[in-house]
Chain length 234, copies 2
């Protein structure tokens, strides 16, 4: 059996989770949260635990706290930041496939541009990319290994693009993937991606285009490869 760690999450973490769920489910009338003291009483924890949770919600731009006044819920569509992905992707144990599709679209867009930039700025990374692709071809049935190698492949491209924001976006997207795996089970996620992982010829083409310094070909082949899963999931 897979021994999952027994949560034992800090209280402020649990409070954060509960408030987050309530906010995303729009459970607060008029978007006004109860006072810190009331929340502390309701959750039966100390006020400091509530405050630490609220600080995080504030950081995520989900609430607006003001001294003297009341704490209000903000519209995450207009105020939220990309980091909400992990929280929006799986809510109440259910996967929001619309959000998942958004993530795949974004992955394709950024992945393609990163490949183009990589071709210009780090064509030499082509050797390492090719090696990973060969590695993947050697164990076409080990989905877990394919998944790991695939991450290595795209991480190398993003690194080669020299674009720090693409690197950070990749972190966010991979985080979402991890959340998804935790919710659906890693096996299911691997199966969903199987079709893509097996197109190793396409990965080789991307690597070749990068090695040739051909930005537009790298962009095109990368986009086509990454779009496959979008249309499959749509």
């Amino acid at each position: 059996m897979a021994l999952a760690p027994v949560a034992a999450a800090p209280l402020s973490e649990q409070v954060y989770r509960r408030l987050l769920d309530a906010i995303l489910a729009d459970e607060f009338v008029e978007g006004v949260l109860p006072s810190e003291r009331d929340l502390a009483a309701a959750f039966e924890v100390n006020r400091h635990a509530v405050r630490e949770a609220l600080k995080r919600l504030q950081q995520s731009r989900l609430v607006d706290v003001s001294q003297g006044g009341s704490t209000r819920v903000l519209d995450y569509r207009t105020e939220g930041r990309l980091d909400l992905l992990a929280d929006l992707l799986v809510r109440a144990g259910r996967v929001d496939w619309k959000v998942a599709r958004s993530a795949l679209e974004m992955r394709a867009s950024i992945g393609a541009d990163a490949a183009a930039l990589c071709a210009v700025r780090a064509p030499k990374s082509h050797r390492a990319l090719r090696k990973v692709a060969d590695e993947m071809a050697s164990h076409p049935d080990d989905l877990a290994a394919l998944d790991a190698d695939n991450v290595v492949f795209w991480t190398a491209i993003v690194e080669g693009s020299g674009n720090l924001l693409y690197r950070l976006s990749l972190n966010t997207l991979l985080d979402g993937l991890k959340i998804l795996a935790g919710s659906l089970g890693a096996d299911i996620v691997y199966q969903l991606a199987r079709e893509e992982y097996l197109q190793i010829t396409e990965l080789r083409e991307v690597a070749a285009a990068i090695g040739a310094g051909d930005a537009e070909r790298a962009r095109k082949t990368a986009y086509e490869h990454l779009s496959r899963t979008v249309t499959a999931a749509g």
Copy 2:
């Protein structure tokens, strides 16, 4: 005179800022932070204020806190999320132009894909887009108004793309723009974008492609338009 609000940041906010700067400047030996009690003593604030700041740093994946053990700095390149943009863009009063360039590249990539998706999913938004473009053409010298209208234009496209993550990314990028304006002064930022704002013909082409439901033309025209400022800033 421009009446700027007198900041009266909460202590935990100030502590957060100080720690953030120290972390990004790699000022902690071995990447180990002092204990909460020591930090509280050093900053001359209560330990709770330090804890609230640390919770936020934890949320940003900048530190790893563990009970009993010590608090360690994480590598933001591999752990950080996109929301770090605002903090990385301006550090110690200096603009990091490499990060700014990254943001412009990402804007172009996502803006182009959003335009393509918008053409497919919301071609009718073309009327509203056209109207904003006309509005911009009517006051080509009012840079502040051009800037505001430009935000409206692209926000409409992102909304039309139906991609929630693009919406959240837009929020993050606009946040970065605001930080930049706060650091350099709004006038300077407007001047930098002036060249782009004046290409209203291009905006009309994007709107027309969306109205025609021509995804590829929308992508191409949008990308070319948004890339102008990248190459100018590079």
